[in-house]
Amino acid sequence: MTEFLQPIHAFGNDTFGVLWPVVWNLACIMIVVGPMLGAVAYLTYVERRVIAFMHVRVGPNRVGPIGLLQPIADAVKLMFKETLIPIHSRPMIFLIGPILTMGPALLAWAVIPFQPEMVIADLNIGVLYVLAISSIGAYGVLMGGWASNTRYSLLGGIRSSAQMISYEVSMGFTIIPVVMLSGSLNLSTIVEAQKNMWFVIPLFPMFVVYFISVVAETNRAPFDLPEAESELVSGFMTEYSALTYGMFFLGEYANMILVSALGSVLFLGGWLPPIAALDFIPGILWLAIKMSFLLFVFLWIRATFPRYRYDQLMRLGWKVFLPLSLFWIFVTGSAIHLLNLL
């Protein structure tokens, strides 16, 4: 990696001088964000196909070969619709809401390591950064609900942010054992610490809790209560239309991809192959495979389970996951102490 980047840095330093670090970082961001948006678009396609297959249907197959151009058609349609802003709403806040949902999902990619040394910002507090950034999403939901000037949207917004906050708590707690085992908050170091054994093996219950929590936190079925089209008419985003509505969904899908990446890095060994013999396959591909698997599980869950009731959702979060993860932190701590692991 370093040898490969050397000439590029040399060339950049010659051409841009002191501005090179800025240009280089912008380029990195483009390299990450561009494919991300493509992945978000095609995740919607894959979702519709996979769920259709599980329902013994065929899903979108009309636009382009096997329906591959469907996301583009959807995007064009969304863009050419009218963005309605309700009267007596707060237009600025109304428009910032979707951006705040979408933005953090892209921001957090700054610290996700794709491969050794392939990371935009190798922060030592990567885990904290991700947790901090991803919780901003709740503001987007709340602002969207509040600024719509509708009681129902406001209630929907409050419900949704309550859900997101509750599950962020249990998600945060599931990450603590990982941090304890690896002794670092740096995501690259966490991956390196899994050289001998992926954390999913000693921390399997935590992995399950993590996964269910992020399903709830990204508002995916069976926890898609914020949206709940049938009984609540889309909750906090009732008043949104066209691109602003689309942004909420782009945010949701971007968040799905993000938490899959995070789950792969924290529990499934990130860029590490399952056995050392498979080292010749580039790490970024391993990460992609693990992420795809987790994303598939997201879709799989959506095709399988009916929606939760709100009180069941809260009970699961606070009365099951929270004690369970606290207990597992205790178990991990004891194990580390007794076995002298660190």
Binding site: R57, V58, W300, A303, T304
Partner: protein
């Protein structure tokens, strides 16, 4: 008693029901798909299926309809509008205008029942999607063309149902 309780706890701890549910959906993912690709593939229909109307002709190409207006009179939705061709002779009156408003039509088939010469018959298809509001009027020539085009199907349909009439 205690064993049952313990088993229940174990089952919920290991998410047994969730896993078996997911196994089912995964299995169904690889089953053959039952979707019918509508405009190209169609479900079989009964001979009594009442699709959009066609006007039939005799074997020699002569129009069957004798402009008796019985269909117009019986139509409960008043969807049919007929104007008689004044220039046609008494031994064979013809219609000048024969319109059916498909938005009004309720596909009851009474026009078909009323017709003395089996000129108007309900067709085999119900493809009523238009890009333009005016297209909802099925004019005489369109129904005659449809009648020619779908002749084998329409005839077979009448044949199959003939003994009950």
């Amino acid at each position: 008693m205690l064993g049952v309780k313990f088993k229940e706890i174990l089952d919920s701890l290991f998410l047994k029901e969730l896993v078996s549910g997911m196994a089912i959906t995964l299995r169904y993912m690889f089953k053959p798909k039952i979707t019918i690709q509508y405009p190209e593939e169609r479900t079989p229909t009964s001979p009594r299926f009442r699709g959009v109307h066609v006007l039939r002709k005799y074997e020699d190409g002569e129009e069957r309809c004798v402009a008796c207006k019985l269909c117009e009179a019986i139509c409960p939705a008043q969807a049919i509008y007929i104007e008689i061709d004044e220039t046609s002779r008494a031994e064979k009156r013809l219609t000048k205008v024969y319109d059916i408003d498909l938005f009004k039509c309720i596909y009851c088939g009474l026009c078909e029942e009323a017709c003395p010469v089996e000129a108007i018959v309900m067709g085999p298809y119900l493809d009523v999607a238009f890009e333009n509001r005016e297209d909802r009027f099925y004019h005489k020539d369109k129904m005659l063309t449809n009648g020619d085009k779908w002749k084998p199907v329409v005839d077979a349909r009448l044949q199959a149902d003939a003994k009950y009439r």
